[in-house]
Symmetry: C2
Subunit: 305 residues, 2 copies
């Protein structure tokens, strides 16, 4: 398979937007018709919830596949329903690929050597029951030797990782902002990520080793963009978490490439919001998602010129 | 359900050992008879591998349930086989409980607020398809606000967490040993863990918020034991990773409580080792595990007096 970063950059150019569709379904926020259909088919079981997630995701992907290069299921929401949840996650990945949308498994895994290998196998290979995601988010806290096994699998299978560098949550500073030798810890992590990624740069100039940089910290994103010219940023925190278009602009390079911007609630649950509710209603949730995605693409286009 | 730390301390006293059985099965290391039976029943499928893991785990748990208070499946090894792997993991948890053995889900999860809630639900509740583990390992890199949702679920359901503080791998120092205001980062994390745990201390004097402290760093364990008198330590790295009995002694308090020591390969794959191979053979893998567990209990008893 081709290099992950090359595939992602091509997809961004083809779709004309850097939007990542965050597939973070929650049972209580799903449209009534989706829940009713699943309960009717499966009773009040974990399978019903998983089936509802899958039906919802498929409809959303069908509605925005021409607009978004990549989607990002948040694994926790599927993991809640055990084996049924993993079935829905696996089928979601298949459907995204069938629709020409890349997949980042947002699982934030990280562990010692042989265990990290198993996580890489579990998410990035598509063999023997494993997920077939194109990239995986990873947690660097345990050190460089716990990231390397992921990179071996990425190199062998044309996949990528996004390592947490500066996350979008209010408490991200508890550890990430601590000052080490005059530098915040997230810069140290960034240097580690940059160093690991250097051997994995594709033909479009970006590494298969990306970084997670929250939309809620634009000043830090600007500094990290300087430090990591070859690193793709996955930028969460847009919309519901408070990040706006001008906040994500610093994550991009001058040429308008270098980042993907994730929105979850703002896109997938657009049908619940004031701006779309009356027009689309619960039945029109996928159309509402498309309208919100088009609006987000416009917002980004303005700040990226 | 009773407080997690109270339940764990009772189990340690009842079984007379602080051993945690690390259930980290690998297909290629399983005894031939276990693999053959699974392939015969399920063909060469992910289900066969998952079924083999489960059969292996059940036999091991049956063999050592009177010796070990707690077991710790490493989730990555199950996750490799997707939905089938999660089925085997869930059934392993059930079997451990049926045999009177507590379960720590070693998943090292960590994410922002609502996602952390979903992970807590996924591992620590046993409802709607979720795992019913007694405790979960968590990664603190994203900050205190990402740990709190786990604690709410722990308090409501009598469960616990073990937060990564100083891990057993060679590269753990990359971030954890960096010096912040004259202190290594792992001490900062330890203080955060201690502060979060203070509101969750049970009747036996230990908190439901534990810490992961690798057997391979005894000097750091000694310091952390001083800093965190109410914190239970989960100590990985015994045996195959290089930690010996004298290395884990500093993780315990003077009264011989305060830590559980995990061994995975050294116990579950004892049948492959020189010391047990001839006597037990592949058919006797569970008896070999029991012999290795008894030997480990003796080693620990000597250093803990």
């Amino acid at each position: 398979m081709d290099h992950f970063a090359d595939r992602l950059v091509s997809a961004i150019e083809k779709k004309g937007s850097p939007i990542c569709l965050g597939l973070d379904p929650r049972w209580e926020s799903l449209p009534d018709p989706v829940r009713s259909a699943a309960l009717h088919a499966h009773g009040d079981t974990p399978r019903a919830r998983a089936a509802a997630f899958l039906a919802f995701n498929r409809a959303l992907l069908d509605a925005v596949a021409d607009l978004v290069p990549v989607c990002k299921p948040q694994v926790a929401f599927y993991e809640q329903f055990g084996a049924d949840g993993w079935w829905a996650l696996d089928e979601t990945v298949r459907h995204a690929h069938a629709q020409g949308v890349l997949v980042i498994s947002d699982a934030k895994r990280g562990d010692i050597g042989t265990t990290a290998e198993a996580y890489a196998q579990a998410h990035l290979t598509g063999t023997a029951g494993a997920l077939n995601a194109d990239a995986l988010t990873v947690n660097p806290f345990m050190g460089g030797d716990t990231l390397r096994p992921f990179l071996d699998v990425c190199a062998a299978h044309g996949r990528g990782v996004f390592a947490l560098v500066k996350t979008s949550n209010p408490g991200s500073g508890d550890l990430q902002d601590l000052v080490v030798d005059g530098q915040p810890l997230y810069e140290r992590v960034a240097r580690l990520v940059g160093a690991l990624g250097r051997a994995h740069v594709g033909s479009r100039g970006f590494s298969a080793v990306g970084a997670v940089v929250g939309a809620t910290y634009p000043a830090q994103a600007r500094r990290l963009r300087e430090l990591l010219p070859e690193t793709l940023f996955l930028v969460p925190g847009y919309g519901a978490q408070g990040g706006a278009a001008q906040d994500v602009a610093p994550a991009f390079r001058e040429d308008g490439l270098g980042a993907i911007v994730n929105s979850s609630r703002g896109l997938i649950f657009a049908y619940r919001e004031e701006a779309y509710r009356t027009r689309y209603g619960p039945e029109g949730y996928a159309e509402a998602c498309r309208a919100a995605t088009l609006a987000m693409a416009d917002e980004l286009r303005k700040v990226l010129k």
